[in-house]
Symmetry: C2
Subunit: 123 residues, 2 copies
């Protein structure tokens, strides 16, 4: 992941709908979810709007799509998200020990306080 890709990725993530999309698709794993089901899961947003945001995420290489019969299945590109994390840590934060501290606490372990929080804003 180079700087340009990272900029595109940050830009793609800087929208509530798209952040929701990513979070939903990460939960779905490699199987992914059809566009229609995504629309239902996210509370019936207008189809064209959803399509626009999905296209934006795909252009940023954060998700990928495949057609299965009448459906278009979207799934997250884990290597892209990993690459973005890596970019943020290495190139952007310079692997600063203070910043990195949050990564050493095995992120995701429920109840582990991270930077003054107690993991209350979990989905």
């Amino acid at each position: 992941m180079d700087r340009e890709q990272a900029l595109t990725a940050f830009s793609a993530l800087a929208h509530a709908d798209r952040l929701d999309l990513i979070r939903l698709l990460v939960r779905q794993g490699p199987e992914g979810l059809a566009a229609g089901q995504i629309g239902v899961a996210l509370g019936g947003r207008m189809a064209s709007r959803l399509s626009f945001h999905l296209a934006t995420l795909e252009a940023a290489a954060l998700i990928t799509s495949r057609r299965v019969a009448r459906n278009v299945i979207y799934s997250v590109r884990t290597e892209a998200l990993g690459g973005l994390l890596s970019f943020l840590m290495r190139d952007c934060c310079g692997s600063d020990p203070q910043i990195m501290a949050c990564c050493d606490r095995h992120p995701g372990a429920e109840g582990v306080p991270v930077y003054g929080e107690a993991g209350t804003d979990k989905t």
Copy 2:
């Protein structure tokens, strides 16, 4: 770091100038750098433009400022960057093991390949 804060942070990072600013300020550490010096370091960008981007980063709580005599010193808020990383890993990526793999390799260790790269896009 909640979703709204993360959105603001992503939005703030989604601009080349501001990404450069963050990278510069991370390198400076807690001492920070005066606005004028930042302008010089980044190749004489117009002062008002710089001020605008610094204000955007500060509004996103990614940096902080303090006045020292005639200068305004900007420095990075490490806990905010850490919080953003944490949010991206936990809330956004759901601590997916595949995505997390990039964090286990002690990011920043030069020469350690991360997701098919060899760390060539370093500043």
